[in-house]
């Protein structure tokens, strides 16, 4: 594994005295696919938002590629590709217009931008549908377009916030393959999801988060050992439920 690409030190976020993220300390190295698991309200999205400088931390530090994204945003922000949980695309724009709009935000223009748009659409398998309006796409196609919008500027770190919600198995499989493909090319990935099998299939390291804290972190095998002393028959979901409990979580972040 390579250098540390992301490091958080005692990262904390409070909303009206309610601690949502509690002294979070994580280190992610270059080339990893880091999975962040947790029940609803665990603080995953808030953590992602603090890393991406969307939400200001109450306390603690974020170090992204050796820089503080709040203090040196211009130096570091173009190295991140952020794929939000929502379908952050405009339905009334065509596929290529969406990618052009969001890629241009990183300073690309002219032929370079055109090439980046086509490459991103090609990458997610939508190049032939580039002239269609996003509102006419299926759920899976919209998800793929959502990803394409974050790829155009060739980021070093891709942050996926539940990118496979509500799509068919084919599209999910396609997205997971593309994430692995990007990782092989050297892109570091942070991936949050509720789908255990997805996380287990692609992540090199997994952290389980609950009540704003990391309660376990390691490879899939290490987590299984932690819970059941090395019983290989146990699933990641069982590990998750053992660590976080079976009580329903009705939070909204």
């Amino acid at each position: 594994m390579g250098d540390i690409i992301l490091k958080t030190t005692d990262l904390t976020k409070k909303y009206n005295n309610k601690v949502v993220v509690d002294n979070l300390n994580i280190e992610i190295r270059k080339g990893e696919i880091f999975g962040l698991l947790g029940p609803n309200g665990a603080g995953k999205s808030t953590t992602m938002n603090m890393i991406c400088s969307i939400v200001r931390p109450t306390a603690g530090e974020v170090e992204l590629l050796g820089k503080n994204p709040w203090k040196q945003k211009k130096d570091v922000i173009h190295k991140i590709g952020y794929i939000p949980q929502e379908l952050a695309i405009h339905g009334n724009l065509k596929a290529w217009e969406n990618v052009e709009l969001f890629t241009s935000l990183y300073g690309m223009k002219g032929q370079q931008l055109k090439n980046a748009v086509n490459e991103s659409l090609q990458y997610v398998g939508l190049l032939e549908r580039k002239q269609e309006f996003a509102k006419n796409f299926s759920g899976g196609m919209k998800r793929r377009l959502n990803i394409a919008c974050a790829l155009g500027h060739n980021p070093e770190l891709l942050i996926f916030d539940e990118p496979t919600v509500g799509i068919d198995p084919q599209s999910r499989n396609f997205i997971l393959d593309k994430i692995k493909e990007s990782n092989k090319k050297g892109t570091t990935v942070i991936y949050t999801s509720h789908y255990m099998e997805e996380v287990e299939a692609i992540c090199t390291r997994i952290a389980i988060m609950d009540n704003g804290k990391i309660i376990a972190c390691g490879t899939s095998e290490e987590l299984k050992k932690l819970v059941n002393g090395g019983d290989e028959n146990i699933t990641l979901e069982e590990v998750f439920l053992t660590l976080t409990g079976k009580k329903l979580r009705d939070y909204a972040e």
Binding site: N49, C52, S53, I54, V55, R56, P57, T58, A59, K74, I77, H78, I80, Y82, P84, Q85, E86, L87, A88, I89, H90, G91, N92, L93, E97, E100, L101, F102, S104, L105, Y106, G107, M108, K109, L113, C149, A150
Partner: protein, 359 residues
Amino acid sequence: MIRYLIKNNFKLMFRNTWSVVVMLLGPILVIAVLSSAFSELMKSYEGVDEFAVGYRIQEVAEDNLMIETVKVAGEEAGILFYEYPQGEIKDVMEKNELAGFVEFSEGTYVIYTSADYEVEGITLEYFMNKVMNVGVNASLQLQEQEKIVLPVEELEFMPAVDSKDYYGIAYIVYFCWCGMICATGVLSNEKKYGIVRRFQVSNISELQNYLGKFIPITLTVTVGMAIATTITVLLYDIHWGNSILSMLIVFMMILAGAALGMMLYNISDSLVITIIIQFTIVWFMGFFGGSFETYMFSSTSDTLKHLSPIYHSNRALVELSCMGESNYVASAVGYSLVITVVCSTIAILAGCIRKRGRA
């Protein structure tokens, strides 16, 4: 990057059928309804029968040619001038049932009107202003060397305008201030689908983000108002005055309306609150500024009228339409410019504060 932001936001605003239809059909329908509803009220201006006016020439006044011109033009306009060289003007007017009286002296004239002939008085003021301007211009052309100066007393001038022209202009003015409606689709989408977060995870500055919306709103409303104005001119035969000055005033109002809307949105972070507050502000400005009842007959106070930017724009445009000139052009443009600069600055600052976030 701003070029692509402007281009795509412009496309989004124009593809939002609902807002485009409102911006186009809104003024067309409202102008049709109000101009026909108030046509009787406005007719009192245009439907004045022939009436008699007295005049007197002071000894020092020598320009009899000008007075003859006034008499001939007056006859054509239905204003009959009769000379009364003697007596108290008030008594002469009462005795002879004159609607007005004009006292000519060297280089100037004074108009006397009667409360019993209010509309005729206004018509006389309008006529005198018009005919004396024409006369001065004609004299200037004839005698280029000799400069004629007619220091006309400052009159609270009431232009003669019909309801079609008045409401045809007033409602284009009114809708210019409501241009924020064009941005509703873009802004609600940005918020609803987390697109704002994509902007936050990018190199875009708050100024670029602001201009990326402000310029497309301005362009969309400008195109929309140009189409609506053309349609109303063709359908209702509305007369606009000096086209360059009129376009300047309208464009400045569009800028001010967009800046006001963006400022409210960046402060409130809510489209609903923005629309409610902006429309309330615009409604009050329109109420005092003559969008709902004509500013000529308005019962609101002069101070409140003058505080309303819509009053200045309305008055300037209406006067340009019926007189070809207006003293309100500078204040209309200046008011809009100040609103644009102040609101834009506050909008950008509010956006920066919001972006910086709360710890």
